[in-house]
């Protein structure tokens, strides 16, 4: 028997009122891989996760998760997945340990097994010290870790992470990435959504770029980055004369006279950076910034225009 594909989506369409959130989405995630759905706010990322996790039915198209149809076999899908949403779905009146116990009870674990599982998750997610404190006292990063730990109590083989690090500080973000990599090492399939190219690059085997309800590009992170112009150094000057002088010395530089801005391509080569610095007259430089490609650059390269919210609000309003 062949291993079913973790996620198989074809021609998926969904609209809220007049707004077409998804317009014929196709994607495939092989079992045991990490797939990142990259897109700005309002691109429809959360809607994809909600459809795949059986929370909302699609208007049309087909979606299968772990070999089960999300519409027909919702129960089987739920038995196969774990979901960590964008907002921590924890019970803040309960302690961290009690939250995990709740999940263990709902997973029908025997009490000895449940205690073992809870203890090991608390240790692995670095929540030991806070285990018996109410979750309402946790920091944002701790809440997110507890949320993910709760998802893992039932040992799902396929985990959905909807913008797992949005709103986290860089340290908490790196910590969460480490935890996700551990899951991957255990062979868990991960489907994540993110607004950060860096995050997709760090975690994913394949990245799909979602724009106006369709994939506009798909590939490995390095394939994707090849499509995107590399990094650059942006230097702002005090005066037009300072800008002109520097522009004369630096090769391949883009000049924006109105903004007094000089843009120099930069591919991460330190020697280049060093020589660039020596070319500049320190007294005429206002700011010197090294930029790596971000979501804006991906979208600029792929769609010809910068990221603009597709919708007036961050998320489509609930249709109630």
């Amino acid at each position: 028997m062949s291993i079913p594909t973790a996620v198989e989506v074809s021609e998926l369409a969904m609209s809220y009122g007049d707004v077409d959130v998804l317009r014929g989405l196709d994607l495939t995630v092989p079992t045991g891989t990490v797939y990142a759905l990259l897109g700005p706010n309002g691109a429809g990322k959360t809607t994809v996760v909600r459809i795949l996790s059986t929370l909302v039915p699609a208007d049309s198209g087909r979606a299968a998760v772990a070999g089960f149809d999300v519409a027909r076999d919702a129960g089987d899908v739920r038995r196969s997945i774990g979901v960590t949403g964008q907002f921590s779905a924890i019970d803040e009146l309960l302690t961290g340990r009690e939250n995990l116990r709740l999940m263990a009870d709902l997973a029908h674990l025997r009490s000895a097994e449940s205690a073992r599982r809870v203890a090991s998750l608390l240790a692995r997610f670095d929540l030991d010290d806070a285990a018996d404190r109410r979750a309402s006292t946790y920091s944002g990063g701790m809440k997110r870790r507890l949320d993910l730990a709760m998802t893992l109590v039932s040992r799902p083989r396929l985990v959905f992470l909807d913008e797992p690090t949005t709103g986290l500080d860089p340290r908490s973000r790196r910590e969460l990435w480490r935890l996700v990599r551990e899951l991957v090492a255990d062979g868990v399939t991960i489907f994540l959504t993110t607004q950060y190219l860096e995050e997709a690059d760090e975690l994913a085997d394949r990245v799909g770029v979602l724009h106006q309800g369709r994939l506009v590009a798909e590939g490995t992170p390095s394939e994707l980055k090849r499509l995107v112009p590399g990094g650059r150094v942006e230097i702002t000057f005090t005066s037009p004369s300072g800008l002109a002088a520097a522009a004369g010395r630096v090769r391949n530089a883009g000049v924006d006279e109105a903004a007094l801005l000089l843009t120099v391509p930069y591919e991460g080569d330190f020697a280049c950076l060093q020589s660039l610095v020596t070319e500049l007259d320190g007294a005429s430089v206002v700011s010197f910034e090294v930029r790596t490609p971000d979501l804006d650059d991906v979208f600029l390269a792929l769609t010809g225009h910068a990221v603009r919210p597709v919708l007036p609000t961050e998320k489509p309003e609930a249709v109630r």
Binding site: T54, L55, R78, G85, A89, E98, R134, S154, K315
Partner: protein, 266 residues
Amino acid sequence: MTAVALTSPRPVRDSWTMLRRNLRQMVRYRSLTLMLIAQPLAFMLLFVYVFGGTMGPGIRGGDGRGDYLRFIMPAIVVMTIASVSLSTTYTIALDTEKGIVDRFRTMPIARSAVLAGRVLGAVVQTVVALVVVLAVALLLGYRSGGTILGWLGVTGLVLLMTLSLTWLTVGLGLAAPNAETASNTPLPLMFLPFLSSGFVPTGSMPVGLRWFAEHQPFTPMIDTLRAWMGGASPGSDAWWAVGWCLLIGVLSFWWARRLFARPQAT
């Protein structure tokens, strides 16, 4: 995919798990729990000590505060039930808003367990609140003339009322756009007992109000409780009371289930 740890849904076990979670929340969210009990107690003290001296002689066969306490006791019981069920609207809406309900929805658990746990929790909370309210009433000098059979009837009707009102407030909580709205929508439930036979005989009201008071669901419930608590027979009021409870309960149950199964857009 390899085998997963989760087994098939077990409604009873899952409901029990949810009930324990809700009971734990009640203990933790002490201010809310105390407020629920304080509300009917405050009304009881207010009516007995502020209005009781004047109102007592105004009711048939009544004399002082003690008689008035006996008269309003059924209304205080109804207000206690209403007060607890109000909090259910809030806590259900809060759960939905916080996203933990969505987590439950993506798990292979019995979906009915999420709501059943909430309703059972409300029943436990109501029983606790009623014990406190009755204890304070006894301290204030409340003496019931009811028989054991009568009090069994009271217990049964109180449970039935709790179930039906709680399903109604579960529905209101699920229908509310957020927890803040949810804390206000069921307020009419607290006011309706005033427009009933609960605090004054309906005969003393002006015609229009009197018609409303005599035909609204709380009046037969209060009259039935008053009869059983006073050792009398409620007659047809008991059937009306049970009928209203079943009607409200069944419709609300159906409504709440529908709302819970509805796809969640955001």
